[in-house]
Symmetry: C2
């Protein structure tokens, strides 16, 4: 098959790049660092969006839309934000082109220079808090629970499809509250929403934790995160939720009159997940044959491939298939009956394996005689012959079973790849030989964190929310520590 | 009420601007020409998106996503496209900022200049056809039926919320076909989808037609459009669908091997509607009291306002209301029970009138005694008292009735404002005194079209698809004409 891909064990990174392109998920465009998300990849993203959007609305949020451009000066207003963000950005300096002197080429019109440059949003805290100032006067205007689905641009030097692209799609929630307690509760709630989504839809187990000061979002008082583990032992930050304190309210002068009649600064959160989740989804479950998709996010849950020698056989198969698919429709099971006669069944089998369709049904003349279908699972690559009478129920249960099985498999892999290490020797050895999360004591200083990163390329992924208090000694310095944190090399 | 708005008869334009802001639909942002779409406005746009997306998918289209940026050189490739589009655009010239010498301000880093400038997409034909070249080899790869939901930027000098903004949201369909016939059929199909959506969801009657050469999309062979009429007698183009011939295929060298084994250029269409539809929706139905929304697009279809003096009464009302809303849920009727005790019923009545909620239910102690609800219609501003037993069914029917009534009203207005004129005197007089569409003979030349525009500010909105062949004399020149076209002043 021309569509075969590099094996993971051979070159994990190459395997990923080939898989994304060959499974028709995304590809590089003519614009450096910007990807094209192809229909099949976008259909998965749409399923993610639909579930997340539902979860956001169920927790009281509404969608809105804010400008793509942010005036340069806005970034100077929140001191730590500018350091973290405003540097690698796309800058709009002009607003007109004109035809060149040759009458063919076009060039930037020097007369159309903007007075103040505009930055293509790398994130929207500044423009949104500039807007919230107009929306908030009294405690009665709070909370504001708003989310935005949008594209953002960060000028990354090294890009990889889905994982790190100059432009990416995401959602960013931005909420405003009257009290610190309420804002913290919101940030924690959204972390739980993300974890719930990752585990129940993406079938990816995640560690909930908070970031060290060093790894915090620029402008945040606390950054919560969910961390996932990929099959190559590297961690991937799958979502973040920030408690922003009053930093943006102070920078943009957003005050409210409290119930007691006092003027107070508003408390803020922001939280986001992006098309990076596509990378996490792909890398968590897929194998050397291609993509493996959890049924809850698969655009096609069941593909049906007819095996026939002539039109008459195809017609007979079509009739049997219709009885099944009519029931699929009622049960909201998404399916595709691939009856193209220009392609052979073997080609189709490979194609849908590559594309990660959870269940494949095959039916030929023998099956018609026997009243059966062949059912193949993408996750285990096993096949069974099932009588047509119980088929629909079987498929329905199997979809649930595959969803659970993928989560279990990923959970088991992660459980095997969280290793407690108690010396720096051990730290380095486990990191090199096994990878995964290293649960280690750390003395709480930025210096130690950076030294370890310098020596090993491992960073502190998070301080787990449920970690136990435990006296210990820092794995690098031997200084006292109050609990273990999770280190890993990361995407 | 502080929220009262200017009357339409006083100043239609001011009425519109105030309405958009006071009904919480959108507002201007700190970025020139870019709007903030507020949650209530965005909820209407989401309803539009959901219906259109469903219609696109039912006609076989899939969504995908292409880059925000387009290299400048791409625009030079399609000759007529560059003239029409690439001029008033946001141009990205740099990719980095740095901290200024004062350590506080930030400035554009002169070392981070792009080799080739990037244009923020004003429309995506060029980047998409650059991509399709890689997707298309044989007739088996056709058709490609792709749509994109995206933001685009056109640097407009005079902007108005929803109607004309520098950044706006839209969908753009881009399809590729093996034959001219198929591409033309696609362009016509999508025009019909738009007309169906406008009439059945927005309750806006539209004229289907095609544009004169002068008004055609830059790069199109034929531009189909739907034209609506606003309450001030001005026309508004609500959607366009373009048959692009082989223009973009030739510009980007996109060929396919036909079934006969020949190399041929691919045929193209593109079609789009934007947040401009929000402007059409607002201007078609609303009145001096505020917004009027058709039930099929209203985020809240029914609002319920309790009228009470004490908590006990509120509790009793809450109980009755719950019985009704439980049934609303089952019927997918969206509702809001506004039981805020900080605001008076009269304030709420005004608020929901301003926001165009189709039906308002009010219930007080008297109603509890009598087993009734007061039902108020937003479209006619009439009220009735209805027994609670039949209320849900009554509301369900009323929602349908309001939807139909809004369409009828708009249709009647339009019918009264299509005037056949047979001399230029008549043309000018009707345009000044009555406005609306002028159905007039035209000699088919660009010169006449432009002369009429210069003299009257009226343009040819479209050549109606269903116009009858009719010999006549051009309203300006007296030269022979084969049928009437529709002129109007337009947004």
């Amino acid at each position: 098959m021309s569509k075969s891909i590099t094996k993971r064990a051979e070159d994990y990174s190459k395997w990923y790049n080939e898989l994304v392109v060959k499974a028709d998920l995304a590809e590089n465009s003519g614009v450096r660092g910007c990807m094209v998300i192809k229909p099949y990849g976008y259909a998965i993203w749409e399923k993610m969006q639909a579930e997340l959007d539902r979860m956001f609305k169920e927790t009281g949020h509404q969608n809105a839309y804010f400008p793509l451009f942010i005036p340069k000066s806005y970034f100077s207003k929140e001191a730590s934000h500018v350091d973290g963000f405003a540097k690698e950005c796309a800058v709009v300096t002009h607003y007109r082109l004109k035809t060149g002197e040759d009458g063919k080429t076009i060039e930037v019109d020097p007369d159309a220079k903007l007075e103040e440059e505009l930055i293509v949003r790398p994130t929207s805290e500044t423009i949104i808090w500039d807007t919230y100032r107009k929306w908030i006067e009294s405690y009665r205007d709070l909370p504001i629970l708003v989310n935005q689905w949008a594209n953002v641009v960060r000028w990354e030097m090294r890009t990889r499809l889905f994982l790190r692209t100059a432009e990416f799609l995401w959602q960013e929630g931005h909420t405003a509250h009257a009290t610190q307690e309420e804002a913290v509760a919101e940030a924690e709630q959204m972390l739980n929403v993300y974890a719930d989504f990752a585990e129940n839809f993406m079938a990816i187990p995640v560690v909930k934790g908070y970031k060290t000061e060093n790894e915090r979002f620029a402008g945040a008082v606390e950054t919560y995160c969910i961390e996932a583990l990929m099959q190559d032992g590297k961690a991937l930050q799958a979502g973040t939720s920030h408690f922003l304190g009053q930093n943006f309210a102070k920078a943009f002068d957003v005050k409210f009159t409290s119930q007691e009649g006092k003027q107070e600064y508003v408390w803020a959160t922001s939280w986001g997940v992006s098309t990076r989740l596509m990378g996490a989804l792909i890398m968590t479950h897929s194998d050397d044959n291609g993509l493996v998709l959890p049924p809850n996010l698969a655009p096609i849950q069941v593909v049906i491939v007819p095996i026939h020698r002539n039109d008459e056989q195809l017609e007979a198969i079509r009739e049997e298939v219709k009885k099944i698919t009519d029931q699929f429709k009622k049960l909201h099971i998404s399916f595709k009956f691939d009856d193209r006669t220009t392609l052979k069944p073997g080609w189709k089998f490979n194609e849908y394996e590559l594309k990660g369709v959870p269940i494949r049904l095959a039916v030929g003349p023998k099956d018609l005689e026997n009243g059966t279908f062949e059912v193949a699972r993408r996750d285990t690559l096993t096949k069974e012959v099932i009588a047509k009478e119980g088929l629909v129920e079987y498929v329905q249960n199997l979809l649930e079973e595959i969803q659970v099985n993928l989560y279990k498999k990923a959970h088991q892999y992660r459980a095997e790849h969280i290793t407690e290490v108690n010396s720096f020797d051990e730290f380095e050895k486990v990191l090199e030989t096994k990878g995964g999360f290293l649960s280690a004591h750390w003395d709480g200083t930025v210096e130690t964190e950076e030294k370890i990163k310098e020596l090993t390329k491992a960073t502190i992924r998070c301080i787990p929310i449920d970690r136990k208090e435990e006296e210990g000694k820092c794995v690098l310095t031997g200084n006292p520590s109050k609990g273990r944190v999770l280190f890993a090399r990361a995407y």
